[in-house]
Amino acid sequence: MHDVHVVITVLVLVGVLTTLPRVLKGPTLMDRILAVNVIGTKTIVLLALVGFLQVELGIARGAPANDYARAGFWLDVALAYSLINFIATIAVLKYLERRARSPDVSNSEELA
């Protein structure tokens, strides 16, 4: 069972890595923000996956088969992470929106 989890975890990790170039050299600011947001969302999935992976490995090594409650710790962290991710994105967008409203923004085409 935990083979499937390992494969999915690696796939999500690859997804994060493919998004990374968009953060580093995204032509516009919005590309970068969207990419950071995607990485944040994938991190939440990764946290949940790693939590269940740990439980599966524990069961494979002889822990009781109903040990899934331990994944709850990881889900708690994932939930908090999703909240922070959401608020951070709104905060950054709010800042950009204010900057775009000022009259003589020289780099307004970057914000488009």
Binding site: D76, L83, A91, E97, R99, D104, S106
Partner: protein, 175 residues
Amino acid sequence: MRETPSLIVRYVARRAVPFIQLYALYVLGHGEDGPGGGFQGGVIFASSFVLLALAYGWGQGRKHVPEKLFDLLAPAGCLLYAGIGFVALLVGGAFLQYEAFVGEGADHATKHHAHHFGLIGIELGVMLTVTASMVILFFEMSRPDEEGAFGDGASQEDVEALHDGSAATEEAPDA
């Protein structure tokens, strides 16, 4: 900081705030046997007020955060923490020795309960202080006027009017 024009952001923020606060209390309650505790719970609780201010504007968010109350809550949390410690000292234990509340002769289960309640008490103190400090820091740092121009009594109209008038020139240099 004015109200965001996006209806979706405002709606989601309004719906999410109670759940964020409930989750903060959950994190507070699970501090002993999981990730979490007073500090983390306090930060999550404060982030709900930050979200409100981001979605509805500084003045509207300020309405949910009475300045005097939060100025009181920050030291009150410290007082709760130290108070529980010193009460343990007064009843004959060491500083923050929760088992001292129920005396020497109590059985193991009672001491265990005393330990839990003492721990929850100081976590609550930490949470109060952290929530209040985070909220105060956020609202002071994002205050839309010059430093302390209005002081404590700034009405929402004052703040909004000032922001509408001068925000553009204020931010021109770093644009």
